[in-house]
Protein backbone atom coordinates (compact mmCIF):
# COMPACT_ATOMS: atom_id res chain seq x y z
CA UNK A 1 0.00 0.00 0.00
CA UNK A 2 1.21 3.50 -0.86
CA UNK A 3 1.29 6.09 1.87
CA UNK A 4 -1.36 8.79 1.30
CA UNK A 5 -0.50 12.48 1.67
CA UNK A 6 -3.50 14.80 2.01
CA UNK A 7 -3.26 17.91 -0.19
CA UNK A 8 -5.28 20.98 0.77
CA UNK A 9 -6.16 22.03 -2.77
CA UNK A 10 -7.51 20.77 -6.05
CA UNK A 11 -5.25 19.46 -8.80
CA UNK A 12 -3.96 22.29 -11.02
CA UNK A 13 -4.26 20.25 -14.21
CA UNK A 14 -6.34 17.10 -13.65
CA UNK A 15 -5.64 14.14 -15.92
CA UNK A 16 -8.31 12.77 -18.23
CA UNK A 17 -9.46 9.24 -17.43
CA UNK A 18 -10.37 6.72 -20.12
CA UNK A 19 -11.85 3.26 -19.94
CA UNK A 20 -8.32 1.90 -20.37
CA UNK A 21 -6.75 4.01 -17.60
CA UNK A 22 -9.67 4.01 -15.13
CA UNK A 23 -8.33 0.89 -13.31
CA UNK A 24 -5.06 2.79 -12.61
CA UNK A 25 -6.82 5.74 -10.97
CA UNK A 26 -9.31 3.50 -9.12
CA UNK A 27 -6.42 1.44 -7.71
CA UNK A 28 -4.48 4.59 -6.75
CA UNK A 29 -7.53 5.78 -4.79
CA UNK A 30 -7.15 2.62 -2.72
CA UNK A 31 -3.42 3.17 -2.31
CA UNK A 32 -2.44 0.59 -4.90
CA UNK A 33 0.23 1.31 -7.53
CA UNK A 34 -0.56 -0.69 -10.65
CA UNK A 35 -0.05 -0.79 -14.38
CA UNK A 36 -0.69 -3.02 -17.36
CA UNK A 37 1.40 -6.10 -18.08
CA UNK A 38 1.34 -7.98 -21.37
CA UNK A 39 -0.06 -11.51 -21.34
CA UNK A 40 2.05 -12.41 -24.38
CA UNK A 41 5.50 -10.88 -23.82
CA UNK A 42 5.03 -10.41 -20.08
CA UNK A 43 6.45 -6.85 -19.98
CA UNK A 44 5.01 -4.10 -17.81
CA UNK A 45 4.56 -0.64 -19.29
CA UNK A 46 3.92 2.76 -17.73
CA UNK A 47 1.72 4.73 -18.14
CA UNK A 48 -0.76 1.83 -18.54
CA UNK A 49 -1.84 1.04 -22.10
CA UNK A 50 -4.53 -1.15 -23.70
CA UNK A 51 -2.03 -2.25 -26.37
CA UNK A 52 1.39 -3.56 -25.34
CA UNK A 53 3.92 -1.16 -26.92
CA UNK A 54 6.55 -3.90 -27.14
CA UNK A 55 4.68 -6.66 -29.03
CA UNK A 56 1.38 -4.91 -29.87
CA UNK A 57 -0.68 -7.56 -28.12
CA UNK A 58 -4.13 -6.40 -26.99
CA UNK A 59 -4.11 -8.93 -24.17
CA UNK A 60 -2.95 -7.16 -20.99
CA UNK A 61 -3.63 -7.61 -17.28
CA UNK A 62 -3.26 -5.33 -14.25
CA UNK A 63 -0.31 -6.05 -11.97
CA UNK A 64 1.45 -4.22 -9.13
CA UNK A 65 4.36 -1.90 -9.87
CA UNK A 66 7.31 -1.77 -7.52
CA UNK A 67 6.68 1.13 -5.15
CA UNK A 68 10.36 1.80 -4.49
CA UNK A 69 13.17 2.83 -6.72
CA UNK A 70 16.14 5.09 -7.34
CA UNK A 71 16.13 8.78 -8.25
CA UNK A 72 17.51 9.02 -11.82
CA UNK A 73 17.25 12.80 -12.03
CA UNK A 74 15.20 15.74 -10.79
CA UNK A 75 14.70 19.47 -11.08
CA UNK A 76 13.02 22.31 -9.21
CA UNK A 77 10.77 24.34 -11.52
CA UNK A 78 10.77 28.09 -10.82
CA UNK A 79 9.32 29.34 -14.12
CA UNK A 80 5.92 27.66 -14.20
CA UNK A 81 2.98 27.76 -16.57
CA UNK A 82 0.15 30.05 -15.37
CA UNK A 83 -1.86 27.20 -13.90
CA UNK A 84 1.05 25.96 -11.76
CA UNK A 85 2.36 29.41 -10.80
CA UNK A 86 0.93 29.30 -7.27
CA UNK A 87 2.85 26.06 -6.58
CA UNK A 88 6.24 27.30 -7.83
CA UNK A 89 8.93 26.47 -7.04
CA UNK A 90 8.02 22.79 -7.13
CA UNK A 91 10.01 19.65 -7.90
CA UNK A 92 9.62 16.91 -10.48
CA UNK A 93 11.74 13.83 -11.09
CA UNK A 94 12.49 10.63 -12.96
CA UNK A 95 12.55 7.40 -10.96
CA UNK A 96 13.78 3.94 -11.93
CA UNK A 97 11.52 1.54 -10.04
CA UNK A 98 13.14 -1.57 -8.60
CA UNK A 99 11.14 -3.71 -11.04
CA UNK A 100 12.78 -2.02 -14.03
CA UNK A 101 10.16 0.52 -15.09
CA UNK A 102 11.01 4.22 -15.40
CA UNK A 103 8.44 6.83 -14.37
CA UNK A 104 8.38 10.63 -14.34
CA UNK A 105 6.34 12.30 -11.61
CA UNK A 106 6.17 14.94 -8.91
CA UNK A 107 8.89 14.89 -6.25
CA UNK A 108 7.94 15.53 -2.63
CA UNK A 109 11.15 16.61 -0.95
CA UNK A 110 11.81 15.82 2.71
CA UNK A 111 12.86 18.74 4.91
CA UNK A 112 16.31 18.11 6.32
CA UNK A 113 17.26 15.56 3.67
CA UNK A 114 19.29 16.71 0.67
CA UNK A 115 17.77 15.49 -2.57
CA UNK A 116 20.48 13.54 -4.40
CA UNK A 117 20.52 11.58 -7.64
CA UNK A 118 20.80 7.87 -6.88
CA UNK A 119 18.97 8.09 -3.56
CA UNK A 120 16.23 5.60 -2.68
CA UNK A 121 12.70 6.89 -3.13
CA UNK A 122 9.18 5.56 -2.65
CA UNK A 123 5.98 6.32 -4.53
CA UNK A 124 3.24 8.06 -2.54
CA UNK A 125 -0.38 8.84 -3.30
CA UNK A 126 -1.29 12.54 -3.26
CA UNK A 127 -4.93 12.89 -2.25
CA UNK A 128 -6.18 16.25 -3.54
CA UNK A 129 -9.68 17.56 -2.86
CA UNK A 130 -10.81 16.59 -6.37
CA UNK A 131 -8.86 13.36 -6.92
CA UNK A 132 -5.42 11.79 -6.84
CA UNK A 133 -1.95 12.20 -8.30
CA UNK A 134 1.22 10.28 -7.48
CA UNK A 135 4.70 11.39 -6.49
CA UNK A 136 8.10 10.13 -5.43
CA UNK A 137 9.51 10.92 -2.00
CA UNK A 138 12.96 10.17 -0.56
CA UNK A 139 12.90 7.19 1.81
CA UNK A 140 13.33 8.28 5.42
CA UNK A 141 16.63 6.63 6.21
Amino acid sequence: MLETLKMLSVRAYPPRVSEATLPFWSALREGRWMTTQCNDCNRQTFPPKAICPHCWSASVRWTDLSSQGELYSWTRVHAAPTIFAADAPYSVCIVDLDSGVRVACKLVERPGIDTRIGMAVEIVRLQYEDGDLFAARPLNR
Partner: protein, 397 residues
Protein backbone atom coordinates in the same frame (compact mmCIF):
# COMPACT_ATOMS: atom_id res chain seq x y z
CA UNK B 1 22.92 10.74 -53.92
CA UNK B 2 22.24 11.24 -57.64
CA UNK B 3 21.44 14.83 -58.48
CA UNK B 4 22.21 16.61 -55.27
CA UNK B 5 20.34 19.45 -53.61
CA UNK B 6 21.97 22.84 -53.20
CA UNK B 7 21.12 25.85 -51.05
CA UNK B 8 21.51 28.91 -53.26
CA UNK B 9 19.72 31.67 -51.37
CA UNK B 10 18.75 32.74 -47.86
CA UNK B 11 17.07 35.61 -46.06
CA UNK B 12 15.90 36.27 -42.51
CA UNK B 13 14.79 39.06 -40.20
CA UNK B 14 16.73 39.76 -37.00
CA UNK B 15 15.22 37.72 -34.18
CA UNK B 16 13.50 39.87 -31.58
CA UNK B 17 10.16 41.23 -30.55
CA UNK B 18 8.18 41.74 -33.74
CA UNK B 19 4.71 40.56 -32.78
CA UNK B 20 2.35 43.47 -32.11
CA UNK B 21 0.00 43.56 -29.13
CA UNK B 22 -3.76 43.42 -29.71
CA UNK B 23 -4.11 47.09 -28.74
CA UNK B 24 -1.38 48.47 -31.00
CA UNK B 25 -2.70 50.86 -33.62
CA UNK B 26 -0.24 49.60 -36.22
CA UNK B 27 0.01 45.84 -36.46
CA UNK B 28 2.86 43.67 -37.75
CA UNK B 29 1.47 41.28 -40.36
CA UNK B 30 3.14 37.94 -40.96
CA UNK B 31 2.52 37.74 -44.70
CA UNK B 32 4.08 41.16 -45.27
CA UNK B 33 7.31 39.99 -43.65
CA UNK B 34 7.32 36.69 -45.53
CA UNK B 35 6.62 38.30 -48.91
CA UNK B 36 9.65 40.53 -48.48
CA UNK B 37 11.83 37.58 -47.41
CA UNK B 38 10.80 35.53 -50.47
CA UNK B 39 11.84 38.37 -52.77
CA UNK B 40 15.14 38.86 -50.90
CA UNK B 41 16.02 35.14 -50.87
CA UNK B 42 15.28 34.62 -54.57
CA UNK B 43 17.36 37.72 -55.42
CA UNK B 44 20.17 36.34 -53.27
CA UNK B 45 19.93 33.08 -55.22
CA UNK B 46 19.64 34.70 -58.63
CA UNK B 47 16.63 32.57 -59.59
CA UNK B 48 13.45 33.79 -61.27
CA UNK B 49 9.93 33.73 -59.87
CA UNK B 50 8.70 31.33 -62.56
CA UNK B 51 11.38 28.75 -61.68
CA UNK B 52 9.84 28.18 -58.22
CA UNK B 53 7.47 25.22 -58.12
CA UNK B 54 7.32 24.19 -54.45
CA UNK B 55 7.02 26.04 -51.15
CA UNK B 56 7.28 24.25 -47.83
CA UNK B 57 6.21 26.41 -44.88
CA UNK B 58 6.61 25.89 -41.17
CA UNK B 59 3.32 25.90 -39.27
CA UNK B 60 2.65 29.38 -37.84
CA UNK B 61 1.92 29.77 -34.12
CA UNK B 62 -1.78 29.71 -33.15
CA UNK B 63 -1.42 33.44 -32.37
CA UNK B 64 -1.14 34.22 -36.10
CA UNK B 65 -4.55 35.51 -37.11
CA UNK B 66 -4.39 34.71 -40.85
CA UNK B 67 -5.17 31.02 -41.21
CA UNK B 68 -3.70 28.93 -44.05
CA UNK B 69 -0.86 31.42 -44.25
CA UNK B 70 0.94 29.28 -46.83
CA UNK B 71 -1.68 29.47 -49.55
CA UNK B 72 -2.52 33.05 -48.55
CA UNK B 73 1.09 34.01 -49.28
CA UNK B 74 0.97 32.24 -52.65
CA UNK B 75 -1.93 34.56 -53.44
CA UNK B 76 -0.06 37.63 -52.20
CA UNK B 77 2.83 36.78 -54.53
CA UNK B 78 0.74 35.41 -57.44
CA UNK B 79 2.97 32.35 -57.51
CA UNK B 80 1.47 29.42 -59.45
CA UNK B 81 3.17 26.13 -58.42
CA UNK B 82 3.27 22.63 -59.96
CA UNK B 83 5.16 20.83 -57.16
CA UNK B 84 3.77 21.16 -53.64
CA UNK B 85 2.60 23.93 -51.32
CA UNK B 86 2.17 22.93 -47.68
CA UNK B 87 2.80 23.67 -44.03
CA UNK B 88 4.71 21.15 -41.92
CA UNK B 89 4.70 20.57 -38.17
CA UNK B 90 7.04 18.53 -36.03
CA UNK B 91 7.38 20.32 -32.69
CA UNK B 92 10.94 21.66 -32.37
CA UNK B 93 11.83 19.79 -35.53
CA UNK B 94 9.32 21.76 -37.60
CA UNK B 95 11.81 23.95 -39.46
CA UNK B 96 14.28 21.12 -40.04
CA UNK B 97 11.45 19.09 -41.56
CA UNK B 98 10.38 22.02 -43.75
CA UNK B 99 13.90 22.20 -45.13
CA UNK B 100 14.04 18.42 -45.53
CA UNK B 101 10.73 18.40 -47.43
CA UNK B 102 11.89 21.21 -49.70
CA UNK B 103 14.97 19.10 -50.49
CA UNK B 104 12.66 16.17 -51.25
CA UNK B 105 10.76 18.28 -53.78
CA UNK B 106 14.05 18.70 -55.65
CA UNK B 107 15.10 15.04 -55.27
CA UNK B 108 11.70 13.82 -56.47
CA UNK B 109 11.91 16.07 -59.51
CA UNK B 110 8.75 17.92 -58.59
CA UNK B 111 10.47 21.28 -58.61
CA UNK B 112 13.66 22.79 -60.01
CA UNK B 113 13.56 25.44 -57.32
CA UNK B 114 11.85 25.10 -53.94
CA UNK B 115 11.55 27.37 -50.92
CA UNK B 116 11.63 26.38 -47.25
CA UNK B 117 10.25 29.24 -45.23
CA UNK B 118 8.21 30.29 -42.26
CA UNK B 119 7.44 32.75 -39.51
CA UNK B 120 7.10 32.27 -35.75
CA UNK B 121 5.38 35.07 -33.83
CA UNK B 122 4.79 34.64 -30.10
CA UNK B 123 6.59 37.33 -28.09
CA UNK B 124 3.45 39.36 -27.27
CA UNK B 125 2.10 36.35 -25.37
CA UNK B 126 3.54 36.09 -21.84
CA UNK B 127 5.93 33.25 -21.02
CA UNK B 128 3.59 31.79 -18.39
CA UNK B 129 0.65 31.88 -20.78
CA UNK B 130 2.67 30.46 -23.68
CA UNK B 131 3.79 27.67 -21.34
CA UNK B 132 0.14 26.66 -20.91
CA UNK B 133 0.38 25.45 -24.48
CA UNK B 134 4.01 24.34 -24.61
CA UNK B 135 3.68 22.20 -21.48
CA UNK B 136 1.33 19.98 -23.48
CA UNK B 137 3.98 19.35 -26.17
CA UNK B 138 6.39 17.30 -24.07
CA UNK B 139 5.40 14.20 -22.17
CA UNK B 140 1.96 12.70 -21.58
CA UNK B 141 -0.80 15.25 -20.89
CA UNK B 142 -2.54 12.87 -18.51
CA UNK B 143 0.41 11.27 -16.71
CA UNK B 144 3.21 13.90 -16.88
CA UNK B 145 1.71 17.36 -17.35
CA UNK B 146 -0.42 17.17 -14.16
CA UNK B 147 2.91 17.00 -12.25
CA UNK B 148 3.99 20.34 -13.75
CA UNK B 149 6.65 19.27 -16.26
CA UNK B 150 7.56 21.94 -18.83
CA UNK B 151 9.67 21.46 -21.99
CA UNK B 152 12.86 22.79 -20.42
CA UNK B 153 12.32 20.89 -17.16
CA UNK B 154 13.36 17.75 -19.05
CA UNK B 155 16.59 19.42 -20.21
CA UNK B 156 17.18 20.53 -16.61
CA UNK B 157 17.03 16.89 -15.55
CA UNK B 158 19.58 16.12 -18.29
CA UNK B 159 21.83 18.77 -16.74
CA UNK B 160 21.45 17.35 -13.23
CA UNK B 161 22.21 13.87 -14.52
CA UNK B 162 25.20 15.04 -16.58
CA UNK B 163 26.68 16.84 -13.58
CA UNK B 164 26.11 13.70 -11.49
CA UNK B 165 27.70 11.30 -13.98
CA UNK B 166 30.61 13.38 -15.22
CA UNK B 167 31.27 15.81 -12.39
CA UNK B 168 30.45 18.68 -14.75
CA UNK B 169 30.03 22.10 -13.19
CA UNK B 170 27.67 25.03 -13.67
CA UNK B 171 30.75 26.97 -14.82
CA UNK B 172 31.10 24.55 -17.75
CA UNK B 173 27.46 25.06 -18.69
CA UNK B 174 27.89 28.82 -18.31
CA UNK B 175 30.84 28.69 -20.73
CA UNK B 176 28.40 27.68 -23.46
CA UNK B 177 26.20 30.70 -22.75
CA UNK B 178 29.20 33.07 -22.69
CA UNK B 179 30.61 31.62 -25.92
CA UNK B 180 27.26 31.83 -27.70
CA UNK B 181 26.76 35.44 -26.61
CA UNK B 182 30.21 36.29 -28.02
CA UNK B 183 29.23 34.68 -31.32
CA UNK B 184 25.89 36.53 -31.27
CA UNK B 185 27.72 39.83 -30.75
CA UNK B 186 29.07 39.30 -34.28
CA UNK B 187 25.73 38.34 -35.84
CA UNK B 188 23.31 41.06 -37.01
CA UNK B 189 20.43 38.53 -36.93
CA UNK B 190 20.94 37.73 -33.24
CA UNK B 191 18.47 38.72 -30.51
CA UNK B 192 20.97 39.34 -27.66
CA UNK B 193 24.34 40.78 -28.67
CA UNK B 194 25.88 42.36 -25.57
CA UNK B 195 28.74 40.16 -24.32
CA UNK B 196 28.29 38.51 -20.91
CA UNK B 197 30.63 36.94 -18.36
CA UNK B 198 30.44 33.56 -16.63
CA UNK B 199 29.77 35.37 -13.33
CA UNK B 200 26.75 37.07 -14.84
CA UNK B 201 25.43 33.73 -16.12
CA UNK B 202 25.83 32.14 -12.68
CA UNK B 203 24.13 35.09 -10.94
CA UNK B 204 20.88 34.84 -12.94
CA UNK B 205 17.72 33.66 -11.22
CA UNK B 206 17.01 29.93 -11.38
CA UNK B 207 14.50 28.86 -14.04
CA UNK B 208 14.64 25.06 -13.80
CA UNK B 209 17.47 24.02 -11.48
CA UNK B 210 20.36 23.77 -12.13
CA UNK B 211 19.64 26.00 -15.15
CA UNK B 212 19.37 29.76 -14.74
CA UNK B 213 17.98 32.46 -17.01
CA UNK B 214 21.02 32.54 -19.34
CA UNK B 215 21.15 28.73 -19.64
CA UNK B 216 17.70 28.64 -21.26
CA UNK B 217 16.49 30.21 -24.51
CA UNK B 218 14.91 33.66 -24.67
CA UNK B 219 11.54 34.01 -26.36
CA UNK B 220 11.39 35.89 -29.61
CA UNK B 221 9.93 36.20 -33.09
CA UNK B 222 11.60 35.30 -36.35
CA UNK B 223 11.10 34.53 -40.02
CA UNK B 224 13.42 33.07 -42.64
CA UNK B 225 13.46 31.75 -46.18
CA UNK B 226 15.86 29.37 -47.93
CA UNK B 227 16.08 28.65 -51.65
CA UNK B 228 17.07 25.14 -52.73
CA UNK B 229 17.61 23.76 -56.20
CA UNK B 230 19.45 21.05 -58.10
CA UNK B 231 23.23 20.96 -58.20
CA UNK B 232 23.07 21.61 -61.96
CA UNK B 233 20.99 24.75 -61.60
CA UNK B 234 23.22 25.88 -58.72
CA UNK B 235 26.35 25.53 -60.89
CA UNK B 236 24.72 27.57 -63.63
CA UNK B 237 23.99 30.48 -61.32
CA UNK B 238 27.70 31.27 -61.07
CA UNK B 239 27.68 32.05 -57.33
CA UNK B 240 28.89 30.14 -54.27
CA UNK B 241 26.39 27.52 -53.09
CA UNK B 242 26.03 24.84 -50.45
CA UNK B 243 25.46 21.16 -51.23
CA UNK B 244 23.40 18.89 -49.01
CA UNK B 245 25.83 15.97 -48.87
CA UNK B 246 24.27 13.82 -46.18
CA UNK B 247 21.04 13.38 -44.30
CA UNK B 248 20.09 11.17 -41.38
CA UNK B 249 16.98 10.78 -39.29
CA UNK B 250 16.19 8.76 -36.20
CA UNK B 251 13.22 8.64 -33.86
CA UNK B 252 14.08 6.48 -30.85
CA UNK B 253 10.51 5.21 -30.46
CA UNK B 254 9.75 7.09 -27.26
CA UNK B 255 7.94 10.34 -26.55
CA UNK B 256 10.08 12.41 -24.16
CA UNK B 257 10.89 9.48 -21.87
CA UNK B 258 11.24 5.72 -22.28
CA UNK B 259 9.64 3.58 -19.58
CA UNK B 260 12.46 1.10 -20.23
CA UNK B 261 15.41 2.69 -18.40
CA UNK B 262 17.99 4.00 -20.86
CA UNK B 263 20.82 6.52 -20.90
CA UNK B 264 18.80 9.73 -21.31
CA UNK B 265 21.82 11.95 -21.86
CA UNK B 266 23.34 9.83 -24.64
CA UNK B 267 21.00 11.40 -27.23
CA UNK B 268 21.14 8.16 -29.21
CA UNK B 269 18.85 9.48 -31.95
CA UNK B 270 21.37 12.24 -32.69
CA UNK B 271 24.24 9.77 -32.64
CA UNK B 272 22.52 7.42 -35.10
CA UNK B 273 21.16 10.14 -37.39
CA UNK B 274 24.54 11.86 -37.59
CA UNK B 275 26.37 8.58 -38.31
CA UNK B 276 24.03 8.07 -41.25
CA UNK B 277 24.55 11.65 -42.47
CA UNK B 278 28.36 11.46 -42.14
CA UNK B 279 28.43 8.14 -44.01
CA UNK B 280 26.32 9.57 -46.85
CA UNK B 281 28.64 12.57 -47.09
CA UNK B 282 31.74 10.37 -46.84
CA UNK B 283 33.20 12.33 -43.93
CA UNK B 284 34.09 11.88 -40.28
CA UNK B 285 33.14 14.30 -37.50
CA UNK B 286 36.79 15.47 -37.45
CA UNK B 287 36.36 16.75 -41.03
CA UNK B 288 33.73 19.30 -39.95
CA UNK B 289 34.62 22.98 -39.85
CA UNK B 290 31.59 24.06 -37.81
CA UNK B 291 28.34 22.83 -36.28
CA UNK B 292 25.08 24.73 -36.02
CA UNK B 293 22.96 22.65 -33.67
CA UNK B 294 19.44 22.79 -32.31
CA UNK B 295 20.19 23.24 -28.62
CA UNK B 296 17.62 25.16 -26.60
CA UNK B 297 19.71 25.10 -23.38
CA UNK B 298 23.42 25.19 -22.59
CA UNK B 299 23.32 21.54 -21.47
CA UNK B 300 21.70 20.47 -24.73
CA UNK B 301 24.56 21.93 -26.78
CA UNK B 302 27.03 19.96 -24.65
CA UNK B 303 25.10 16.70 -25.00
CA UNK B 304 24.48 17.02 -28.73
CA UNK B 305 28.12 17.94 -29.37
CA UNK B 306 29.01 14.62 -27.75
CA UNK B 307 26.33 12.65 -29.64
CA UNK B 308 27.53 14.13 -32.95
CA UNK B 309 31.07 12.98 -32.17
CA UNK B 310 32.45 16.53 -31.97
CA UNK B 311 33.79 15.92 -28.47
CA UNK B 312 34.26 12.69 -26.47
CA UNK B 313 31.49 11.71 -24.05
CA UNK B 314 31.60 13.58 -20.80
CA UNK B 315 33.97 16.17 -22.23
CA UNK B 316 31.52 18.57 -23.90
CA UNK B 317 31.44 20.90 -20.93
CA UNK B 318 35.23 21.00 -20.60
CA UNK B 319 35.54 21.59 -24.36
CA UNK B 320 33.29 24.64 -24.09
CA UNK B 321 35.16 25.96 -21.05
CA UNK B 322 38.52 25.56 -22.79
CA UNK B 323 37.39 27.41 -25.92
CA UNK B 324 37.45 24.43 -28.28
CA UNK B 325 33.94 25.30 -29.50
CA UNK B 326 34.49 29.08 -29.78
CA UNK B 327 35.20 30.79 -33.11
CA UNK B 328 38.89 30.15 -33.80
CA UNK B 329 38.77 26.96 -31.70
CA UNK B 330 39.03 23.34 -32.78
CA UNK B 331 35.36 22.99 -33.78
CA UNK B 332 33.26 26.16 -33.55
CA UNK B 333 29.69 25.37 -32.45
CA UNK B 334 26.71 27.72 -32.80
CA UNK B 335 28.60 30.45 -34.62
CA UNK B 336 25.28 32.28 -35.03
CA UNK B 337 25.03 32.68 -31.27
CA UNK B 338 22.93 29.58 -30.85
CA UNK B 339 19.45 29.34 -29.45
CA UNK B 340 20.46 30.97 -26.17
CA UNK B 341 21.66 34.25 -27.74
CA UNK B 342 20.86 34.36 -31.46
CA UNK B 343 17.35 33.39 -30.37
CA UNK B 344 14.82 30.61 -30.52
CA UNK B 345 11.54 31.34 -32.36
CA UNK B 346 11.15 27.60 -32.19
CA UNK B 347 9.09 26.71 -35.26
CA UNK B 348 11.64 28.51 -37.48
CA UNK B 349 14.75 27.99 -35.36
CA UNK B 350 16.39 25.43 -37.63
CA UNK B 351 15.84 27.71 -40.65
CA UNK B 352 18.11 30.21 -38.88
CA UNK B 353 20.66 27.45 -38.34
CA UNK B 354 20.66 26.71 -42.09
CA UNK B 355 20.87 30.44 -42.87
CA UNK B 356 24.02 30.54 -40.72
CA UNK B 357 25.45 27.46 -42.42
CA UNK B 358 24.63 28.93 -45.84
CA UNK B 359 26.43 32.16 -44.89
CA UNK B 360 29.46 30.40 -43.39
CA UNK B 361 29.91 27.86 -46.19
CA UNK B 362 29.53 30.52 -48.88
CA UNK B 363 32.14 32.66 -47.10
CA UNK B 364 29.71 35.45 -46.25
CA UNK B 365 29.64 35.37 -42.44
CA UNK B 366 31.62 38.60 -42.01
CA UNK B 367 33.31 39.05 -38.63
CA UNK B 368 32.26 35.60 -37.47
CA UNK B 369 33.48 33.77 -40.58
CA UNK B 370 35.08 30.40 -39.86
CA UNK B 371 38.23 30.49 -41.95
CA UNK B 372 38.03 28.34 -45.09
CA UNK B 373 34.82 26.70 -43.84
CA UNK B 374 33.91 23.82 -46.14
CA UNK B 375 31.99 21.21 -44.10
CA UNK B 376 29.17 21.99 -41.69
CA UNK B 377 26.51 20.04 -39.83
CA UNK B 378 23.03 21.13 -38.75
CA UNK B 379 20.51 19.40 -36.51
CA UNK B 380 16.83 19.53 -35.66
CA UNK B 381 15.16 17.64 -32.85
CA UNK B 382 12.06 17.08 -30.82
CA UNK B 383 11.44 16.06 -27.22
CA UNK B 384 14.64 15.27 -25.37
CA UNK B 385 16.40 14.58 -28.69
CA UNK B 386 14.04 11.57 -28.91
CA UNK B 387 14.13 12.31 -32.63
CA UNK B 388 16.91 13.96 -34.58
CA UNK B 389 17.24 15.15 -38.16
CA UNK B 390 20.82 15.81 -39.24
CA UNK B 391 22.13 17.38 -42.44
CA UNK B 392 25.75 17.57 -43.56
CA UNK B 393 26.62 20.44 -45.89
CA UNK B 394 29.56 21.24 -48.13
CA UNK B 395 30.28 24.71 -49.42
CA UNK B 396 31.23 25.12 -53.08
CA UNK B 397 32.89 28.41 -53.98
Amino acid sequence: MGNRVAIVGASAIPIGRHQSAEADELQTLEHEILARLVVEATRDAGVEKDQIDSLVFTLPRPYTRQKYLHTFLIGQLRLPCRGSVLEVMGNGMTAALAFDQACNEILLGRAKVALALGINMESAVSAAEHAMSSMRTTGDVDFHVPAGFTPISWYAMDAARYMHEHGATREQLAAVAVKNRFHASLNPLAQYRKPITADEVLRQRPIVEPLGLYDVPPRGDGAACLVVTTEDVAKGLGRPYVLVQGRGFCHDGSHQISDVPNDMIAFDAARLASSEAYAAAGIEPADLDLAEVYAPCTIVEILVSEALGLTPRGRGGVAALEGETTLGGRIPISTSGGLTSRGHPSYVTSLYNYVELADQLRGRAGERQVKDARWGVGTGELGNYNAALVHVFEGVR
